[in-house]
């Protein structure tokens, strides 16, 4: 059982939780995730560790309500507990002094992007962050990102905040303007696919963090498999970050729809 210490609503469908997990707080690194369950018959849901406080023994999670299980989680309040949580899982992000980093976040993907932005900044890099969302209300972590980035560009589909347009438009502008040494893109798979196509065109090395379907998160089931450079990899132990230019995104998009019917049903039932 992990107690929820604080809960905030970041937007209509996105909640931030600060959760007790002293061991995980201590051992986690940027890029790691946890798997948690709500309820004894709950699904195992993977979520990125956004931040941690070793002294308080807590970690921060940000979750978007997209289906039955994430909704259950979003309904919990401070003082209540998660049924269980395990982590930190996955490989940590390779953080080093690269020069200029271009960080691209789409939707709730901004949450997993945050610890990476922070770590690259702390490692002495120049960090330019592009945040993208459908509209103003859905832009999350803008202030936190500003604190840890040299520049933040906000892009919205409807122009209600920042500039009107897609994340790739903001990104292309930066790449054309100055030399970018490495790009990190996190968001919906389709967004990452287009970011990868863009940075490939300009030969900018790019990492993406995949949010495949998972069960155990320890390499036991293979539900999270993805084709990277023609080889099958397990996202939970070989990733979740991979070289964006080597990923078979079409297969990934297909695999993420594997349980679409069952999920739709679950959402309507509950």
């Amino acid at each position: 059982m992990n107690k929820i210490v604080e809960k905030f609503k970041l937007s209509e469908n996105v909640c931030k939780f600060v959760v007790e997990a002293p061991m995980i707080a201590k051992s986690r690194k940027p890029g790691n995730f946890v798997i948690l369950r709500v309820g004894e018959k709950g699904e195992r849901i993977p979520l990125t560790i956004v931040d941690s406080d070793i002294a308080k023994g807590t970690i921060t999670l940000i979750v978007q309500n997209v289906g039955a299980s994430s909704r259950k989680l979003c309904q919990l309040e401070a003082g209540e507990s998660l049924t269980d949580m395990v982590g930190p899982l996955g490989k940590a992000t390779h953080i080093y002094k690269a020069g200029t980093i271009l960080a691209l976040g789409g939707g709730v993907g901004v949450a997993p992007l945050f610890p990476i932005v922070k770590a690259f900044k702390e490692a002495g890099n120049r960090v330019i962050t592009v945040l993208a969302a459908r509209s103003k209300d859905l832009v999350i972590l803008e202030n936190e990102m500003r604190e840890w980035s040299d520049e933040v560009i906000v892009m919205t589909d409807d122009g209600s905040s920042g500039r009107k347009g897609l994340v790739t438009e903001g990104a292309e502008e930066v790449i054309k303007r100055e030399k970018v040494d490495e790009c990190v893109a996190i968001g919906p798979a389709i967004m990452m696919k287009f970011c990868a196509l863009l940075t490939k065109k300009y030969n900018v090395p790019t990492q993406v963090s995949l949010n495949t379907i998972m069960v155990d998160g320890t390499g036991m089931c293979g539900a999270c498999r993805v084709t990277v450079n023609g080889e099958t990899k397990f996202t939970c132990i070989d990733g979740p970050e991979f070289n964006a230019h080597q990923i078979d995104f079409d297969e990934l998009l297909q695999r993420m729809r594997a349980y679409k019917n069952e999920e739709d049903q679950a959402r309507n039932n509950k």
Binding site: G39, D84, V86, L89, V215, M220, A223, T232, Q254, A258
Partner: protein
């Protein structure tokens, strides 16, 4: 004579055993037919994932079966058991109706008799070495059934004997993983007086016994009782704890753990790396069985989904393949097909499982090997292309090698494919222990007698050492590791 055979002999000469032997002539014993296990009818049992197929023996059946055993001078059956259970002793205790004593005898050797009585490949171990099979070409004494009977009797009687444990000695040791090897290790170490913690990555204790083997073969309640016993003896369980991730070995040493038993299993599923294997609807047996057995995906109140299929193909011929194919039948498949590249005779699955599968209407396509999966318009698997095989020369394992029949390719329609072609050792632990000596198959190398690895305070056993093996071998490893870790720590503390 070894110490062990001396002990067997001494026990055999106990007054009651001698009297029992003399009370019934062997000719009469031999004339009794081997008991038949009562089973739930196939059409009934396939309606439920949890209905146990084998019903167990009645006391009367058990006693009659026990009386077949001739209490041999040289009980060869014992040689076939990886943990050398004193088989004639517990069998004779059943014959005279001392069922709780029989259970106690079993527990001297095995931490999980109710489990082994159900899942041991007896026909290849103790029973094949029975005098009946060896010398008389008759059906062996049903040692496995009797073992299950005694263990179940004790459990259902509510008079479970919790083994005595030594006073705590204050030395902390850890088991990593909670499969049969780690559980039997923990059981012995707690008896010796250590402070024992079992760390498990998943949210349930039991390893393959929980997430792999389905309830129709091994009910969770049977495993849970054993776990309760260990808890009562003082074993501490930490779930949701991945050693190497949640905390490193160094962190654990800082917390006072002085030695470790690694029983992390062979959890990494193998795939064949053929085209279409990443299509939706193709998954590993681990994924399929975990969704159903650990996450209860087949139950309506579970949040975890599982893909259902009308035409299900399971690739492989081992226990895992049988469990997966029989599960698919229970989840409503119209056709459930085993596809295996060798012949029926060469299947590694237990005979009983193959027989049960056949009764349940599972189809067997032997001498066929998938070469490609083809998708429907929605991207889900719709067909599998199979290469037909024939048997060639024997290979290293002594089995005849399957060879492709050039050009003989067939396609069958499927909507769910479960790949059950084996597992590789879980690489998580080795990856975080620099200097740990590994084999080229990714297993941890240990001294076979002491189960000690190249790092003195680290012992290992079960599938992480053997690759995929059996419950009883894993348990035997756990016990041997406990005995030698005990010696190692006593030595260390003498200094």
């Amino acid at each position: 004579m070894t110490e062990y055979t001396e002990m067997l002999n001494r026990e055999r000469n106990a007054e009651w055993r001698v009297a029992l032997r003399n009370s019934v002539p062997n000719k009469e014993r031999i004339a009794i037919e081997r008991v038949k296990m009562t089973e739930v009818e196939p059409h009934e049992r396939i309606k439920s994932q949890t209905c146990e197929v084998n019903c167990g023996l009645t006391a009367e059946q058990a006693q009659r079966e026990a009386s077949r055993c001739m209490d041999c001078v040289t009980p060869t059956c014992v040689e076939g058991c990886p943990v050398s259970i004193n088989i004639p002793k517990f069998v004779k205790q059943i014959e005279v109706g001392k069922f709780l004593d029989a259970a106690a005898t079993l527990k001297e050797f095995s931490a999980l008799p109710a489990v082994c009585g159900r899942v041991c490949p007896q026909e290849k171990q103790c029973e094949i070495k029975c005098f009946y099979s060896q010398k008389m070409k008759k059906e062996p004494v049903a040692i496995g059934y009797l073992e299950r009977f005694a263990a179940d009797y004790e459990r259902l009687s509510g008079k479970i004997q919790i083994p005595k444990v030594e006073a705590r000695n204050g030395i902390k040791v850890a088991a990593i993983g909670s499969g049969p090897s780690a559980l039997s290790f923990a059981g012995d170490m707690i008896k010796f007086g250590y402070e024992v913690t079992v760390f498990e990555a998943l949210h349930e204790i039991g390893g393959v016994l929980k997430y792999g083997i389905p309830e129709f073969r091994l009910p969770n309640s049977v495993v849970d009782v054993e776990l309760e016993n260990l808890k009562e003896m003082g074993v501490n369980f930490e779930k949701n704890f991945v050693v190497g991730r949640t905390a490193s070995f160094d962190d654990l040493k800082e917390l006072g753990y002085q030695a470790f038993f690694v029983g992390s299993g062979a959890g990494l599923p193998n795939f064949m790396n053929i085209p279409g294997e990443n299509l939706n609807g193709v998954m590993s047996s681990n994924e399929y069985l975990t969704r159903v057995n650990l996450m209860y995906a087949n139950q309506s109140d579970s949040d975890t989904p599982v893909m259902l299929g009308k035409r299900v193909a399971v690739i492989g011929g081992g226990n895992t393949a049988m469990d997966a194919v029989r599960t698919s039948k229970r989840l409503g498949a119209e056709r459930s097909i085993i596809i295996y590249r060798r012949s029926l005779d060469e299947m590694p699955a237990r005979l009983e499982e193959i027989k049960h599968a056949q009764e349940e209407g599972i189809e067997f396509m032997n001498l066929a090997n998938p070469v490609e999966y083809l998708a429907d318009a929605g991207g889900r698997v719709a067909k599998v292309r199979l290469q037909r095989m024939e048997l060639g020369e024997p290979d290293a394992s002594g089995r005849r090698r399957p060879v492709a029949i050039e050009g003989d390719i067939v396609e069958i329609e499927v909507d769910l494919v479960i790949v059950a072609i084996g597992v590789s050792p879980n690489p998580l632990i080795p990856a975080c222990l620099a200097g740990l000596k590994m084999s080229r198959y990714g297993t941890i190398e240990v001294n076979e007698e002491t189960m000690q690895s190249s790092i003195p305070e680290i012992f290992a056993g079960g599938d992480i050492v053997r690759g995929g093996a059996t419950v009883i071998l894993a348990m035997g490893d756990g016990r041997r590791a406990a005995a030698s870790m005990h010696r190692y720590l006593q030595e260390k503390h003498k200094k």
